[in-house]
Point group: C2
Chain length 350, copies 2
C-alpha cells in the first residue's frame, strides 16, 4: 500500500461538490495518475471542506452520491488504489486535532488577506437568497487543508492555480512548527500542471470563464462522444487554441496546429475535429473503466473505506509525533504514570 512505502509522499484531492470534468483532467488528474509511479500518493475526498460553504443538512445529504461519483471518476481515470490511498476526510479524526493545533500557529490576518478564501465566499453566495457572512470555517479552510497535507507528511502537492496560495500556508505552518517544536515536517512543494485549467464551453458568457463545476460550463468525464462534439462546437478562437494545447498529446503537431489555428491556415471545423478525436481517445478507456467499476457492487465503497482506514493510521502516527514534540504527550503520559504508580502502590502489602 502507498502509505507504507518509502517513496516521497504526495497529497492531492478535491471537494466532492460535483462530477469531475476535463478541466480537472488536464489541470490535475493526469498528473495524479502519472506521479503514482514515483510517489506514495494520498487522494483526499475533502467532504469537510464542502461544509465551509455548504453546511446545510440538505447539502450534506447529497454527499453520499457526490462522494461515490467522485471516487468512481478518480478510479476511471486511473487513480490506482494499490498505489494511492483514496480516503474520506471526515473519516480521519486525527486531522481535526491537528487542524486545531495548527490554528494556534497561523496569524488570522494572513488568512483574511487570501484572495482564494474571498473568492470561495463569493462563489458560495451565488444563487442564495441571502448570502451568508464568511464563516470561521471558511477563513480557517487553508489551515484545515494544511492539516490534510501535513498529516500525510506530503512533500508534493499537485494543485490547480487556485490552491497555490494554500500550499504556501501549509509550508509556513510546517516551518513554524519545526521552528517552535523541532524538525518534523518536510516543507511541502506545490506543483502546477502544464495546463492548469481550461476555458469553459457553451454560451459566450460561460466560455469567457474557467471551466468550473459550479458554473456548469464543463465537458464532464461522463459525457459521451456526441455530447463532447456538441460542446466543442461552441468553442472559438482562443478557446480552440487552449483545447488544442491541452489535448493534442505530441508537442510538435500541437505547436503546428496552434500556429495553423492562429493564422487561419486551418479552419475551425478541422481544428474542432482534431480536438474531438484527441478527447475521445482519452475518454474512451476512462468510460470503459467506469462502466466496469460501476457494475461491481460495493467496489468503490470498499476502496474508500480501506483507504480511509489506512489514512487514519498515517494521521494518528503524525498526530502522536506532533503531540510528542509539542509536549502535550508528556503532559498526559505524566498524569497516567502517576496514576499507575498509585495503582501499583495499592497492591503493596500492608
Amino acid at each position: 500500500m502507498a502509505a507504507t512505502s518509502d517513496r516521497p509522499r504526495l497529497l492531492t484531492g478535491d471537494r466532492p461538490t460535483g462530477r469531475l470534468h476535463l478541466g480537472h483532467l488536464v489541470g490535475s488528474l493526469r498528473e495524479r495518475v502519472a506521479l503514482q509511479d514515483s510517489h506514495a500518493c494520498f487522494n483526499i475526498v475533502a467532504d469537510l471542506h464542502t461544509l465551509t460553504t455548504r453546511p446545510r443538512a440538505k447539502e450534506i445529504r447529497e454527499l453520499p452520491q457526490l462522494v461515490r461519483d467522485m471516487v468512481l471518476d478518480l478510479l476511471s481515470v486511473g487513480v490506482d488504489p494499490e498505489r494511492t490511498v483514496i480516503y474520506l476526510q471526515s473519516g480521519v479524526p486525527a486531522v481535526y486535532d491537528l487542524a486545531i493545533l495548527l490554528q494556534m500557529l497561523m496569524p488570522a490576518n494572513r488568512l483574511e488577506q487570501l484572495e482564494s478564501v474571498r473568492d470561495m465566499a463569493e462563489a458560495a453566495a451565488i444563487g442564495r437568497d441571502k448570502p451568508a457572512p464568511m464563516s470561521l470555517g471558511l477563513l480557517a479552510y487553508p489551515v484545515l487543508q494544511a492539516a490534510d497535507i501535513l498529516m500525510a507528511r506530503a512533500e508534493l502537492v499537485p494543485v490547480g492555480g487556485d490552491n497555490l496560495a494554500h500550499v504556501d500556508i501549509a509550508r509556513e505552518l510546517a516551518a513554524r512548527f519545526n521552528e517552535l517544536y523541532g524538525e518534523l515536517f518536510v516543507l511541502p512543494q506545490a506543483r502546477a500542471s502544464r495546463v492548469p485549467s481550461l476555458p469553459g464551453v457553451g454560451a459566450a458568457e460561460d466560455r469567457g470563464r474557467k471551466m468550473s463545476k459550479s458554473i456548469g460550463n464543463a465537458i464532464w468525464l461522463v459525457d459521451d462522444a456526441s455530447e463532447v462534439q456538441r460542446k466543442v462546437g461552441s468553442l472559438e478562437d482562443e478557446g480552440l487554441v487552449a483545447f488544442v494545447d491541452a489535448f493534442v498529446a505530441d508537442e510538435d503537431p500541437r505547436a503546428e496546429l496552434i500556429e495553423a489555428a492562429r493564422t487561419g491556415k486551418v479552419g475551425a471545423p478541422a481544428i474542432r475535429e482534431a480536438i474531438c478525436s484527441a478527447i475521445e481517445a482519452e475518454l474512451r478507456p476512462i468510460r470503459a473503466r467506469r462502466a466496469e467499476l460501476a457494475d461491481e457492487r460495493g467496489r468503490v465503497e470498499e476502496i474508500l473505506v480501506d483507504g480511509t482506514i489506512s489514512a487514519r493510521e498515517v494521521a494518528y502516527d503524525t498526530l502522536q509525533r506532533v503531540r510528542e514534540l509539542m509536549g502535550l504527550e508528556a503532559l498526559w503520559e505524566g498524569l497516567v504514570a502517576a496514576t499507575e504508580a498509585r495503582a501499583e502502590a495499592r497492591k503493596a502489602p500492608y
Copy 2:
C-alpha cells in the same frame, strides 16, 4: 459519577496558567462548589486554551506543574470528584472534531468584534520582545470554548465577567446547530457570581486593576495567614469595601460594615482585621485539605485521568449525535454497509 446523573449539567473551568487566587474564589470557585448539590458538573482544565496565547515549547513544558497545581487548588476548595468531572481538555479528542464542525457555523466577523479576544491578544503581548499577531487559534478561542460547553451539553456556565460574551457565542452556535440540523442542544445560560471579581493588592497601580494571575496582584489560595495580612494591609477605601463585600459572609453585618467604612465610623485597621479574619476562616480548611491531598502520591493525577476518561465518553456521545444529525454518520455508515455487503457477497457459493 456526575456525568451519568440526570441532573442538569454545568460546565466551568480555567486555563492552567497559574495558581488560583481569591478573585477566582469569590468569582467562581464558591459557586462551583455550591452548585455540585444541584447539577452534574464538569470542570475543564483548559490546557488547549493556553496554546492560543502561549504556544511555545517552554510554555507547554510548564503545563504538567501548572495542571497539577490547578487540580490541587480545585480539590482543596471543595470541588468533589464524586460530583464533578475534572478533566484535561487536550485529552478529549472529540472536542477537536466538534470545534472544527462548529467553526463552520460561526461568522468570522462576529468573533473579530469580541472585546475579550482583543484583550487576550494584548495581554499575551505583555512582556514579549516582539508581540505576535493574533493567531487564528485565538480568534477561534470562543468557538473552542463553545465546543467544551456543548460537548458536555451544559445548561449552566458559571463565569466571571470576561466570559459572558463567550457563553453568548456558545448559545448562538447551539441555536444555529439546532436550526440547521435538528434539536440537540439546550441553550447554555451564563451565571455570574454575586461578586464577579476583586480589586488587586500591592502597589497603587496594581490595586487599580482587577486581581489577576497575569498581573500577579493577587492573594493566592496558597498564601498563609501572615501573607494574607500583609497584602490586605495594602488595601484602601474602595478596595476595603470590595473585600468586605466579598468575604464577610452574613448580609447584615456586611452591609453595616460597608456603611461604617464609607462614613469613616470604623477605621481602616479594624476593617482590615475583619477582612483578614473572614479570609482566614475560609482559607484554613482549604489549606488543610490541600496538605492532605498533596501528601497522597498520585491522587491528584488519578482524579484528573479518571475525569478525562469520563469526559471522553460524554464528548464522544455528543459527537456521535452531532454527526448523525448533520448527516456525516449516514455518509460513513453507507460506505461501510456497501463494503460489508460486498464482503458478504464474496462468501456466496459460486
